[in-house]
Subunit: 329 residues, 6 copies
């Protein structure tokens, strides 16, 4: 939709005031601690895919509530020594698919864990395998408004926790170097990347591409696109719940997570992206690492695609990502 958002110069200076709740850290510290109390670690089952250059494990690890979460762990067949790892989160509606669909990181020498997204995995591609055993109040189709009246109930509290536990899990796998773990993802996967980078500040790198789940309120004010639009739709019906809804999202905002991150952050955004408008991405990027105190802000960079929509850089992201991983992980 043309270049509908702020100008490039405005974007670079954009740092909005958000209503971050005072107990934000408390909320998340408690959430993660509770999830970890369920214990358990990854279970790996070797899969015969017909591929000879990589080995694939079907992984199950405990997520929020100890619920089993699925993933694929793909590793090079001919590599030695403890491997660096990339934990990847997925876009909205998709699932982990089939293991041969994402081979490039393993082919480049990384252990690659693709985390399934609970209760999704049906909208496109090859599907997912992870249930979300938690019900919800009245909600719109889609996950944005599941449990939207209380941050404790919201769907993304569970998913972000799954993401943290995925990092925990990969660090426990034999042959993976727990100090050399990066997180990455596109769109919703980028939003989960922000959350995990904020909640597990010692990951080595974070690579959010066109991240979703940032600065929700501006998103719905300037764009109708889904899935942010699910919030609009919910509020258009439940006109009485506006305050509760924005309070809930204040615990889930990628901008707040970004402030707490310490990893080297490689962002991307696209100026014609109405799904994840560039100003919402810059709001996170411009806050990256600001909260981390004495050791100075984290290294960061944002690559801008002026003529793309939400597809952003697509396969063009691979080379800069490999270079970033090589330098920081």
């Amino acid at each position: 939709m043309a270049q509908f958002d702020l100008s490039r110069a405005e974007l670079e200076a954009y740092r909005p005031e958000l209503d971050e709740p005072a107990d934000f850290d408390e909320f998340w510290t408690g959430t993660i601690a509770e999830a970890r109390r369920h214990g358990g670690g990854p279970e790996l089952v070797r899969v015969d895919t017909g591929l000879t250059a990589v080995v694939v494990d079907d992984v199950t690890f405990p997520g929020f509530g100890g619920h089993p979460v699925k993933g694929w762990l793909v590793r090079p067949a001919h590599a030695e020594g403890p491997l660096p790892a990339v934990v990847e989160f997925l876009g909205y509606g998709g699932g982990r698919g089939l293991p041969h669909e994402r081979l490039a990181l393993a082919a480049a020498g990384y252990a690659h864990l693709v985390m399934d997204t609970r209760g999704q995995g049906t909208g496109w591609g090859s599907g997912g395998d992870t249930p979300d055993p938690v019900g919800s109040g009245p909600a719109l189709p889609g996950v944005m408004t599941r449990g939207v009246l209380d941050p404790a109930d919201h769907y993304y509290r569970r998913v972000f926790t799954d993401g943290v536990r995925a990092v925990d899990a990969v660090r426990q796998v034999d042959g993976i170097d727990p100090a050399r773990v990066a997180v990455a993802g596109i769109s919703q996967g980028g939003g989960i990347t922000l959350a995990v980078a904020g909640l597990v500040p010692d990951v080595a790198a974070a690579l959010p591409d066109v991240p979703f789940l940032c600065h929700y309120r501006r998103a719905v004010e300037i764009s109708d696109a889904m899935p942010y639009g699910e919030i609009t739709k919910y509020l258009s019906v439940h006109r009485e719940h506006e305050d509760a809804v924005w309070r809930t999202f204040s615990y889930l905002d990628g901008v707040s997570f970004a402030r707490r991150a310490r990893a080297a952050g490689l962002f991307s955004t696209a100026l014609m992206d109405t799904v994840c408008p560039p100003s919402t991405v810059y709001a996170a990027f411009n806050s990256w690492g600001l909260h981390t105190g004495a050791d100075g802000p984290a290294e960061k960079r944002i690559d801008v695609y002026p003529y793309n929509g939400h597809e952003g850089g697509e396969a063009y992201r691979f080379a800069p990502a490999l270079a970033w991983l090589a330098k920081h992980v």
Copy 2:
């Protein structure tokens, strides 16, 4: 979309073979018995709406799993004696809304219970208030594919049971004549009407308008429209689950419920309705009461709107419905 389905004559003769599972009745007898074992009855709280011609109660009754289900009970303020009642089920995505929105039945002398639909109530109108506390496996946005791999898990197993329990509940309310209860609804509400009429054969009348949730397989073969299209979308991703999906829906098919119904049935359909194609409605109508044995088939009628889409007869349905209720309830 013009008159895209079978011709009028073909519709009137259309009685497809469906794969009804052998344990259909067993499945549902067990399901309803289990729900009733949770016990409990309706709780009524009088609401001040500013309306003087009717009285309104905010009703909570136990549904599937004993989960609390909400409803509005609207009754004429100036009526006497035990009242006949109509239990109404709602269209896809909507909720019970606000009590002043549906006054005509009470203004005509009926006790009118509007049952909220669990976990919906966010897509349009004034919203709903009933959570669905049960999670699900990977599912598409919307409810059609929640728990779609096993009839025991499917969302509509819970909703149909809620509907049966709504009839149970209204029959326990003081001042309502338990022998004079009808069920009614439009679209999804019509589909629930079919299910409840099949599961509670002693309701006096059933009024399904442009009913949804019948003959699922034909629906997706001849139309792309949502919400049947959610099934298509699910199967387009989970290509391996085709058999499981159709098996699940064979326990939820309005045609099977229609065969078991004994109430006087007043249907409507529209020949340009791509959402609930007329052949799927006729499949249920043509089977209405066939399964009920010695006392002969139930009385039934179908009103056809040749130039309407899914909106069908809308407010034009009120007069024939009143007449049907007057005769049969």
Copy 3:
């Protein structure tokens, strides 16, 4: 379409200069006087609707040119004493429909007159019954450009006059208190409400929801949506008639009527409403009662729905409307 119009603060201060014609009052005084010279009053025919809590009359009253205009008068069956009344005008394309469709006001104790809109009543719902016996020059489908080259010929001159005559009519009905009459309506009905409130300043209250027919020129400059878009389409063909068209609408502008109003005004608007953009509504609201001189500005309030489009508050409007009527009528 997201929040596309002015910001909330700008809206609250928005008071555009409009070219109100010098003979605006003369034009309308003459128009109304001429209509009243045709004389006649409402004729009521009792209708059997099957409803027992209300009584319904099929009303015919003389409108513009003395032409017969239809309406439903719905009153509580069990009320006593002279009743307060609400005259309601309808949205674009619709008709008075069937009498059971609008029962809430009568159920709350008001006499409720629903005025049919001449020549419309075919676009949605249950239809209307009032012809418009006046032809027109070349016009676009729809009514916005019927007679658009001269205010004396314009369709809305007739409709606004019908609205004034509807108030005249309801005041003549036995059992209705002529001092306690309010006017109300949604969208086009809200626009007619503004006009009647300006032309009959002694109505007690006016409740325009998301009103249409205000500040036409800005509407077409910032939005393509119909029906304002009919004006754009007309001018895109009849490029030579721009001045004549804007002159005509200067006699029909809700902002001018609002300035002349004295009733207590309860407005609503929605920030994502492209059909009746919020700045056009605020232009009327901010002018409400400014023209009324010595007795100070009228009481007024505007309720804003930030996440709704043209549907605005829908059923959520009922409670505040009842409260407003209780206080002012």
Copy 4:
């Protein structure tokens, strides 16, 4: 929309039974006679267009009810002797436009009268100038349902009569040979061509291209496209008027007019035309001249465009039309 209608072979054999009213001829004989009773003839005012190869007159002639109808008469500047003439009717929503827009027939030696369509002339192009001074009952935007409950009131009764009177008018113009008059038009213009050819059987040729206004009922059953779709929309609201509506159109059906035609008929149709589906055109074509008795059926031909939609043959029609006119006029 691909080739959605009958196959080519089926089209060539398609001759549906239509319910032609017994008093069809009486209805039209009376209508035309009444119009002619208003008397009057064409008034011509020479227009300075800057064109030197043609002369242009602004024509006003009495139509239905004696109402003034406008047209352009364009004639070659350098021709001699009584000229053959073509009366052209226009497509839906358009007007006679500007005189330089249609020069080819005059440049080929014909007097060319372009008849404005009353009350239209605003939907596209350069507009029209003819009012329709007759009002109507509740109607949909557009003209299809104006007066739709009675053939005497229907809009097209007036327009078809205007068309007959246009032929009357051109025959009275000095320098035009009244025996050498053809009628022609595209879409709505083709429908009017059919009507005039049936009502004035002594025109020498008729050239309906992709004609509208034939076999209305089939059109709405197989296509949603406008403007036939206006009928669907009307009936979707006014569900009670189905019989009256079809009765009205039975007096206005191009198939009935085609049966009465005696002129040499050159039709065209397009197999992907959803606006005027080919089966409705063939229904008229296959009936052309059947009713004309002793002198055998009229000469006719239909040109078929298999890969076009409603645009049909466009400029490719000119050469065959010139040849047809040269042979028959």
Copy 5:
């Protein structure tokens, strides 16, 4: 799309800085010289069209690379003396069509050469007849990105050269006054008009209507509409070619050509035109003739259509065009 671009006052002052390459004139001087070296002149073949008021020749003249380019030359049959001429260029995707489609200029006394556009002529209307014998690198459907990596290879280098050679050709035709030649066109035709007016400054008048091919970069930044959108699409894939693409278009920009023009320029633009946004047209208009030195700026005017989209003035342009031609040619 409403009035989406700059305000009227901003438009009138809009004169953006563009990166005109230093060798712009050298590039074009060389290009035109090379084309002229191929020599040759127009070949005319008289066509029998059935038209008697005009004579039509099928013209072939040498364009870029000496490639044969087709056109229709239409002249009044009854005119005398050397005629003034108008060379018209066509809109995107169209072809010269059939000769009877454009008669008004000849009917007004002008020789009218319609230049076919190489390789187009297939998108609408009656088609074209001129191949483009030059291949291209990877390109999007459409012509905007054919050869987009080097101005020497770009499609429009060839087309603009064809346009210059069309003027050369018409000046060689017997009976045409070479000093009285104007250039004109709509949309793409308007863009070619700008180019030819800049490259052949001694044409007497230029009439670009809603011209395309100006200020490309702003066009893609503020609008998604095609065909400018082809550039966006190309860059969204070939993210690495941004600089090369903008460099190429800097040799093809109508704003640069406009600066070099000396003819009397009659522009038009429409404020709702998203295809050729008004600011891109004003950028050319405001620069018209600025580069021409001592003899002062050329005469110019722009007609603005506030309520039109890309159709602009359509047939309303004929009268002002005739007047402009009469005064300046």
Copy 6:
């Protein structure tokens, strides 16, 4: 679009009569021979991609006219001995992209040559690098109508020849077993697969998924979807070229190529695929190998996706493809 084509049983029996030209084999024998006369072989340049499990070469080989055609050759880094190879052709509008995008076949032990498609590579994804140096007559955007009036000029004559030469090229690469070569592709890539399998009958296997470029005429008769729809659009303008167009495509029809194939053929189709309708795919499948004479028909299988559109089986195709390759190559 639901299941719009023939029923499953009809599809399995569908074998339409096509007008195959008598000189079909002569045309192609000559074409391929001429291409081979240009000589030359693949040039490989090793590329540093950061991938360690595979080696990647940037390949250039001579295609039609000896024009250089690009491709990626991806091979396992740790494999030994002569490798079997798969030559893959791409979908419409795409290019070879970046080498890390298609790793699965190499990771499974195959040499994988991805052939760029000349002149495309700009519509989606990461682009392509191969020009098409041949121009064309008037054509629609897209490649379907480039050179459509003569099979010798048609774009796909060049591309199919490129495909044959790609097989020639891969067979010349050291370390690849020339007897163990398969061809594969999706959509357009599937169409090219059919052509190459017909023209190089000694390839070991062919895997066309949802193939395009088969039974063109039926495709445009039953579907509007692009890119077949480019043919419709062309014929809707160039109404005079119908015969020439169908003659041209008779030399390019995948059904004719399928008859000549001898490789083991693994097809797929989807019943809701409007882009490549299932009947056009079955027409090729049902003809597969029929022309091959004494050694009996080739082995073949078709996998059907009843609930998918043109995306077909997507990643679900990998496992059956690997199994087919293992058995036949």
